[in-house]
C-alpha cells in the first residue's frame, strides 16, 4: 500500500533507532507524551517502544476520544438507542464501552436498533432510506472527525432530511493538553502532537506549549517511521535546548490546517462552557455542541436524555494515568478488578486506552523502569 509500506520499513527503523540513541543528551532521562489513541496503538502494534534507547520513555496521554467520554454520556447514548422508532448509529469503537447500565451492544440485546457505521454520511443515508424511522448518529472524536459530522449536518439541512439528528460528543485537543501541562506533578519533557487532528487545526494551536510551557512539540504521522522520526526530532530539540513546534507529518499537515474543515465546524458547532472528561474532570470550553440553528438536528434537544453525571469508580486511577503520572501496571486495579472484559476506567475501555493497549500488547514483557521526576 502506497504511503503506508514505505513508512514501515524495518531497515530504516534500525538506522533511526541508532540515531536516536546517539542524539540522547547524556545523563538525562526523558519522558515524551503522545496524546493520540492512534499513536498509542501504532507504538504497540509495531513494537516501537522496544526500539527506544534507555532513558527515553513514551507516556500515553488523554487523546483517546472514546476513553474520555464519561459514563453518564454513554448512559445518555444508551437511553437514546432505546427510544422507540430510533435507529441508533455509531462507530464501532463505542459499541462495547460500558455505561452504568451496560453498553450499546447490551442495548441491542435488549431490542434497540443499534447499527455500526463507518461514516456519518452512511447514517444520513440510512435516514434518507428509512423515512419512517428516526436516525441518531453518535458523534465522537476530536477535531479530526468533527468536520465530517459538520458537513453531514450541512447536507442534512440542505437536503431537508428531518429524521436525522446528531448526539454530539466532539471534543477539542487544546484544553486537555493545557490541563495536563498545568498538573503540579508533571514530568513531561516534550509532546508528540496528533497528526490527523493537526491536518484540520494546523500546527499553531500548539504554539502555547512551546512558548508558555517551554516544551518542544512535534506533529507526528502514524506510521512507525513517522513516530520514530518525530521522537528523534524531539530529542534533538531537547539536546539543543530548543522548545519549538515542528512538523514531521509534512505530507498531510499544513501550518494553517484545513480552512474548509474549520469553517464547517464553525458553521455548525460551538464550544460548550464546560464538558466532563472521564478521568480528568470538567474542562472548560473543551467540548462542542450543535449551534442553535441546527437545533432540529440536535439529539440532545429533540430527546430527553438522563444527563446524569456518574462519578468515576473510587478505585480508578485513570486520571493519573492520563496525566502520565502513573503507568498502567502501577495502577492498583490494573489486570485484577479492571480488565478489558470488565473495565472500571476509561484507560481500559477502548483498545487505544493506555491500559488496554498495555494489557493486550505488552503486559507480559519486562517492564521498563519508570522515569523519575
Amino acid at each position: 500500500m502506497r504511503y503506508v509500506d514505505e513508512f514501515r520499513s524495518g531497515e530504516l527503523a534500525r538506522a533511526l533507532a541508532s540515531e536516536l540513541a546517539e542524539a540522547m543528551p547524556p545523563g538525562r532521562e526523558l519522558a515524551l507524551m503522545e496524546v493520540c489513541g492512534g499513536h498509542t496503538h501504532a507504538i504497540y502494534k509495531h513494537g516501537i517502544d522496544e526500539l527506544l534507547p534507555p532513558g527515553l520513555e513514551l507516556v500515553h496521554g488523554p487523546g483517546c476520544p472514546v476513553c474520555v467520554i464519561p459514563v453518564g454520556r454513554v448512559d445518555d447514548a444508551v437511553s437514546l438507542a432505546l427510544e422507540p422508532n430510533v435507529i441508533f448509529t455509531t462507530f464501532g469503537d463505542m459499541m462495547r464501552v460500558p455505561g452504568s447500565k451496560g453498553s450499546l451492544l447490551d442495548a441491542r440485546s435488549q431490542g434497540a436498533d443499534v447499527r455500526m457505521v463507518y461514516s456519518p454520511l452512511d447514517a444520513l443515508e440510512l435516514a434518507r432510506a428509512n423515512p419512517e424511522s428516526e436516525v441518531i448518529f453518535f458523534a465522537i472524536g476530536f477535531e479530526t472527525t468533527a468536520p465530517s459530522t459538520a458537513v453531514t449536518l450541512l447536507q442534512a439541512r440542505e437536503q431537508g432530511i428531518a429524521n436525522f439528528s446528531v448526539f454530539c460528543n466532539h471534543v477539542t485537543i487544546g484544553p486537555p493538553l493545557k490541563a495536563i501541562l498545568d498538573a503540579p506533578e508533571l514530568r513531561l519533557n516534550g509532546l508528540i502532537a496528533p497528526g490527523h487532528v493537526s491536518t484540520v487545526i494546523g500546527s499553531h494551536p500548539y504554539d502555547f506549549i512551546a512558548s508558555e510551557y517551554g516544551r518542544p512539540v512535534v506533529v507526528a504521522g502514524f506510521e512507525p517511521l513517522d513516530i520514530l522520526q518525530s521522537v528523534l526530532m524531539l530529542v534533538r530539540q531537547l539536546a539543543e535546548g530548543r522548545a519549538e513546534v515542528e512538523n514531521q507529518y509534512t505530507r498531510v499537515v499544513r501550518e494553517q490546517g484545513n480552512p474548509r474543515a474549520l469553517e464547517a465546524i464553525e458553521q455548525t458547532m460551538e464550544l460548550r462552557d464546560s464538558f466532563e472528561w472521564r478521568g480528568l474532570g470538567s474542562i472548560p470550553r473543551s467540548g462542542l455542541r450543535l449551534r442553535e440553528e441546527f437545533a432540529d438536528w440536535d439529539a440532545e434537544r429533540r430527546y430527553e436524555v438522563p444527563g446524569v453525571s456518574v462519578p468515576d469508580h473510587k478505585a480508578c486511577q485513570c486520571g493519573q494515568v492520563l496525566r502520565g503520572l502513573v503507568k498502567p501496571w502501577e495502577c492498583k486495579v490494573f489486570g485484577t478488578a479492571c480488565t478489558p472484559e470488565r473495565p472500571i476506567g476509561t484507560c481500559m475501555v477502548s483498545s487505544e486506552g493506555a491500559c488496554a493497549a498495555y494489557y493486550h500488547y505488552g503486559r507480559n514483557r519486562p517492564k521498563r523502569a519508570s522515569v523519575t521526576a
Binding site: M1, S9, G10, G47, E50, C64, F91, M116, D122, E352
Partner: protein, 353 residues
C-alpha cells in the same frame, strides 16, 4: 484430593468467577468470553474426560476403532456471501474439525432450524451448496432434521452439523506433543472469510473482491499425516483467527509461539480492508485454512506437501515454538519490534480511532 475431585474443584472455581447474568454477543465471538462461558456453564454440568480437552473433535474408541466426533452450530449473516454460504460453511466447518483431529471424515448429520417466511428458493440454494461441498469433501450427509420457528425468532436459517471420522493411525496429535523448536505453518492467506462476511453485511460500503475461503482442508491435513509423529498439532483457525487459536495452543502446552509478521500471508485487499477498518488480520476468521505445528527438521517438507495442493499454494512457515514466555503468543513485527498477541476479547469491531 483425587484427580476427579481436583478437576471438579477447578470447575467450581471457574463457575464462581463467571458472573454474567445474560448472554450477549460477546459470548459468541470465540475468544475469552466464550471460553469462560463454556467452562463455567457447560463443563460445570457436562464435564467429562471426552469433552474436557475442548478439542475440535472428541476422540472415541468403539470396538477397537478410533473415531473422531464433532458438532458445530452455524449462524451467519448474511446467509450468502462471496465465496460461499451458510451451507458450504456448515459442511466444511465440520469436515475440518474432523480433519484437524487427524481423522478422515465419513459422514455428517445436518439439523435445520428454519424461520417462518424463509424463501424456499434460498433454502434450495443452501442445500445445493451443502451437497456440492459434501461431494467435494467426499462425505455423505447421513442424517438430518428440520424444525420451523415463528417469524422473528430464527435469523432466517440456522444449521447444526455433526460429523464422524476415522482416525488415521499414523498420527498422534495434541498440544502436549508440541516441543520448543517446532515450527508453525499456515496453509494459506489469513482473514479472507471474516472480511468477506463483514463486507457482505453491506453497512460499511466498501467495494472490494474478497471471497470467503470456505473449503475442506482434509486433503491438506491428509498430506501432512505422512509426517507421522513429527506432525504435532493441527487446527483450523476459525472465529478469533490465527491469534486466538495459537493462544489456545500455548495455554494448553505452556510454551510460547513466536510469529514473524513478515511471513504471514495476507491478500492485499484483505490487508487494505483491515487497514481502513482498523482491524488486525490475525484476529479475523478463516474457514478453509490449517495451522500445523511440525518438528523443526521436517518443516520444509511439510511446506512442500502443503504447496503441492492448490488450496495450499500460499502456505508458509510463519513462526516457531519457544520455551518462554510460557503460554503466550508473540509477534516479531516487520518494523523490528515485538508485541504480545493476546487472545481476542470480543468480535473484532471496526474502529475510527
Amino acid at each position: 484430593m483425587s484427580e476427579e475431585q481436583s478437576g471438579a474443584e477447578a470447575r467450581r472455581r471457574r463457575g464462581r468467577r463467571f458472573r454474567d447474568e445474560r448472554i450477549t454477543l460477546v459470548h459468541g465471538a470465540g475468544g475469552k468470553a466464550t471460553r469462560n462461558l463454556v467452562e463455567a456453564v457447560f463443563l460445570e454440568e457436562l464435564g467429562n474426560p471426552l469433552l474436557e480437552p475442548l478439542g475440535d473433535s472428541a476422540l472415541l474408541e468403539a470396538g477397537g476403532t478410533k473415531l473422531a466426533f464433532t458438532t458445530d452450530a452455524h449462524v451467519v449473516q448474511p446467509l450468502f456471501f462471496p465465496g460461499g454460504d451458510i451451507g458450504s460453511l456448515a459442511v466444511n466447518g465440520t469436515v475440518n474439525d474432523i480433519a484437524v483431529s487427524g481423522a478422515r471424515p465419513i459422514a455428517l448429520s445436518a439439523a435445520f432450524v428454519l424461520e417462518e417466511g424463509l424463501p424456499v428458493a434460498d433454502l434450495r440454494r443452501v442445500v445445493a451448496s451443502m451437497a456440492a461441498a459434501a461431494r467435494e469433501a467426499d462425505v455423505v450427509v447421513a442424517a438430518g432434521d428440520t424444525k420451523v420457528v415463528e417469524r422473528g425468532r430464527g435469523d432466517g436459517l440456522t444449521v447444526t452439523t455433526s460429523g464422524v471420522g476415522l482416525v488415521d493411525d499414523r498420527v498422534a496429535l495434541g498440544a502436549e506433543r508440541v516441543r520448543p523448536g517446532d515450527k508453525v505453518l499456515v496453509s494459506g492467506t489469513l482473514g479472507d472469510h471474516g472480511m468477506a462476511v463483514m463486507i457482505a453485511r453491506g453497512n460499511l460500503e466498501l467495494e472490494v473482491e474478497i471471497e470467503s475461503d470456505t473449503a475442506s482442508v482434509f486433503p491438506l491435513a491428509e498430506s501432512l499425516f505422512a509426517l507421522g509423529k513429527d506432525l504435532r498439532w493441527l487446527r483450523d483457525p476459525t472465529r478469533g483467527g490465527l491469534a486466538t487459536t495459537l493462544n489456545e495452543l500455548t495455554e494448553a502446552c505452556g510454551l510460547c509461539a513466536v510469529l514473524e509478521e513478515k511471513a504471514l500471508p495476507v491478500r492485499e485487499q484483505v490487508a487494505a480492508a483491515c487497514e481502513i477498518l482498523g482491524l488486525d488480520p490475525l484476529y479475523v476468521a478463516n474457514e478453509g485454512k490449517l495451522i500445523a505445528v511440525v518438528a523443526a527438521g521436517r518443516a520444509e517438507e511439510a511446506l512442500a506437501l502443503l504447496r503441492a495442493h492448490p488450496l495450499g499454494a500460499e502456505a508458509a512457515i510463519v513462526g516457531e515454538i519457544e520455551p518462554e514466555p510460557k503460554g503466550l503468543v508473540l509477534l516479531q513485527t516487520a518494523f523490528g519490534g515485538s508485541r504480545v498477541v493476546d487472545m481476542l476479547t470480543g468480535d473484532p469491531l471496526p474502529r475510527i480511532c
